[in-house]
């Protein structure tokens, strides 16, 4: 090995090998959904509410909770569990297709 070994060109944003591409695809989909799941409610409160956050989301009610509260307290966590399940399914599906 006289020649200097090259660093392996692994990168999340430009994966080269088929199975790595498949894994990255599953991860990208789930991470985008992840950001959507937890950021939507705070941003909506920020955009539609007054400076204390009071607005349509806080005035609406769901199961006896203020809607904004329910969405964050329970909706987000339920979403996260489902996303983890989705990742396992997508990962298996995409990597199988890649082989």
């Amino acid at each position: 090995m006289a020649e200097k070994e090259k660093i392996l060109d692994v990168s999340f944003f430009s994966p080269k090998r088929a199975h790595v591409k498949a894994e990255v695809k599953a991860a990208t989909i789930v991470i985008v959904l992840w950001a959507f799941v937890w950021m939507t409610t705070p941003f909506l409160i920020k955009l539609t509410g007054d400076e204390r956050g009071i607005g349509p989301l806080t005035e609406a009610s769901f199961l006896g909770f203020p809607l904004h509260y329910w969405l964050v307290a329970q909706g987000t966590t339920i979403g996260f569990v489902l996303l983890c399940g989705l990742f396992v399914i997508l990962f298996n599906k995409f990597t199988k297709a890649a082989h």
């Binding site: 200097k4 070994e5 090259k6 660093i7 392996l8 060109d9 692994v10 990168s11 999340f12 090998r17 199975h19 790595v20 894994e23 599953a26 991860a27 789930v30 991470i31 992840w34 799941v37 937890w38 950021m39 705070p42 409160i45 920020k46 509410g49 400076e51 204390r52 956050g53 009071i54 806080t58 009610s61 199961l63 006896g64 909770f65 203020p66 904004h68 509260y69 329910w70 964050v72 307290a73 329970q74 987000t76 966590t77 339920i78 996260f80 569990v81 996303l83 983890c84 399940g85 990742f87 396992v88 990962f91």
Partner: protein, 547 residues
């Protein structure tokens, strides 16, 4: 300043609420004195853990560190959940919701969402690498003893900070049962942890964590169902499923007459009443990247059979964790219903205070307390294993004495576990903040220093040891400065500041990423053949690259 602020606030609350003035001191506190039934239940459970720990006694270092790698997905899910659900989840979250309402939900988002990141970005790859510890992973990936050392130091700082909160929780619980003072309770807690840890190592810890999950989740849920069943009529709901019925309480109509009803309701109905959008966002973000960078959680993926199981166990783990977080706001609501004027002194023990006031009865109170103890113990055990491994395995056995025998390594592991417990006793005697806040600080450190190094280590081939080290130092120093700033009440680092110690990773994690990438590219010519070979070997294993 804060020293005066809190008593003033309590006085103001008492003045506003007529009932509080009339009832006096005891409205805030738990009942004092020795309680026989809870004591018997608690001692029985400790006996059980010790027996299991003793039966699973380990003889090899592989058993001590990674439980012989034969844990299945539901089992590992339970172990993740019980590693995870510490005194902070069990006691602290309910306490913060009790004090801060909607803002407290930032903790719930943060402590669940991180698992999605962890699963997508690192769980599979870390399992494929599959050695013992996180310092070992980073050390091998970058071929650098320096990085091994920094990561080991970070792991130890996290273990101490995080365990401080657990010791506070365990001490508050055993103080309530045995009627001891706080200091005595801290030493008592340390005794239990130490005996238990030294006897079993990671395998016993994993088995116990599965038992402890069952104890802590039933200990948490049963009392809640019983109380709601009892008060269903009063709050105008059937009293069957507390998790969706407490809405009636937090909107405030029901506690108007008991003082402070309007104020409590505002905590929930006004989103930015206890913190701005920015603070909420920063907190949730910090806790998420922190979750994905916590050494004692990451190391759980080394203990499973294969990567498929590693992935599935995250789904189970998060589901088990979710069950608790769907329920803890209900305790906070109960606290508001039964003890509306409690304030900060009662926040960390609200899960005991509310049922006590609801007249739950000593048997279930004892069970609840045992659940809290299980939560604290299991997390401390996981943390101490990770912390002691960082010193004994990554420093002593890898750097300092590479030729030490199996027996010496095991001895070193035990000695360092004991040393760590002693450090925690000292910090736990005078904890700097509420349980959940101290834990959040540990997360800020993990998210600012370790998370970016791991993600780039896995997903960016060009990341070099110089880049990783520069990035980690930026994150670590930043987070520690924020923590010191918080303790010394510097406004910039306080809970209303720009970079609170509990939320510093929103700024520091991206800074760490950028530093790592810039320095890595600038130093690309400085890496040696040996660095490249070692890095490539790890990358090949992580991404199962054959060519």
């Amino acid at each position: 300043m804060r020293k005066f602020f809190i008593p003033t606030l309590i006085l103001a609350l008492m003045a506003v609420t007529g009932t509080a003035l009339a009832a006096g001191e005891e409205l805030f506190e738990l009942e004092k004195g020795f309680k026989l039934v809870p004591a018997i239940i608690m001692v029985a459970f400790i006996g059980l853990y010790l027996t299991v720990g003793w039966m699973m006694k380990v003889k090899t270092t592989e058993g001590y560190w990674v439980a012989e790698r034969n844990i299945g997905s539901v089992g590992n899910g339970m172990a993740i959940a019980s590693d995870w659900m510490s005194a902070a989840s069990f006691m602290g979250v309910a306490g913060l919701l009790y004090l801060k309402g909607f803002f407290g939900l930032g903790y719930i988002i943060g402590w669940t969402g991180g698992y999605v990141l962890l699963l997508c970005l690192t769980a599979t790859q870390l399992r494929r690498f599959g050695k013992f510890t996180i310092p070992e992973f980073l050390g091998d990936r970058y071929n650098s003893h320096g990085i091994r050392l920094i990561t080991a130091v970070v792991t130890v700082i996290i273990a101490i900070t995080y365990s401080t909160a657990q010791f506070k929780g365990i001490a508050l619980i055993s103080g309530w049962i045995f009627g001891m003072g706080y200091v005595g309770s801290v030493f008592f807690a340390a005794g239990i942890v130490l005996v238990y840890m030294l006897m079993s190592g990671q395998k016993g810890v994993t088995k116990n964590q599965q038992i402890q999950y069952v104890v802590l989740i039933t200990g948490f849920l049963l009392p809640l169902f019983i109380i709601f069943n009892k008060i269903g009529g009063e709050i105008g709901s059937p009293g069957i499923l507390p998790q969706i019925e407490y809405g009636q309480i937090i909107t405030g109509g029901l506690i108007q007459g008991q003082g402070g009803g309007g104020e409590w309701a505002q905590n929930y109905t006004t989103p930015w009443h206890h913190g701005t959008f920015y603070q909420f966002f920063a907190l949730a973000f910090t806790l998420m990247v922190g979750t994905a960078g916590l050494p004692h959680i990451l190391v759980r993926f080394y203990t499973v059979t294969d990567e498929e199981v590693a992935r599935k166990s995250v789904v189970w783990g998060l589901f088990f964790i979710g069950i608790l977080y769907w329920s803890s706001p209900a305790y906070a609501a109960l606290g508001q219903f039964f003890n509306p004027a409690g304030g900060k002194p009662v926040a960390d023990v609200i899960i005991l205070s509310a049922p006590e006031r609801a007249g739950l009865g000593l048997f279930f109170m004892g069970y609840l307390a045992s659940g809290a103890l299980a939560a604290g113990l299991s997390t401390v055990a996981g943390l101490m294993v990770a912390g002691a491994a960082a010193i004994a395995h990554d420093w002593y056995a890898t750097i300092f004495r590479p030729d030490s025998s199996e027996k010496e390594k095991l001895l070193a592991a035990r000695v360092f576990t004991a040393v760590l417990v002693c450090c925690v006793i000292i910090t736990a005697l005078k904890p700097p903040a509420l349980i959940a806040q101290i834990v959040a600080m540990a997360f800020a450190i993990a998210g600012s220093s370790i998370f970016p190094a791991i993600v780039l280590g896995v997903w960016y081939g060009k990341s070099t040891k110089y880049g990783a080290m520069a990035g980690m130092l930026v994150g670590l120093i930043g987070a520690v400065v924020a923590m010191i700033g918080w303790i010394n009440e510097v406004p910039f680092f306080s809970s209303t500041g720009i970079m609170p110690a509990t939320s510093s990773a929103l700024i520091l994690a991206p800074l760490n990423f950028i530093t790592n990438i810039i320095v890595s590219n600038a130093t690309a010519g400085m890496v040696t053949d040996e660095d490249i070979a070692s890095g490539n070997e790890v990358i090949r294993a992580m991404h199962s690259i054959k060519d």
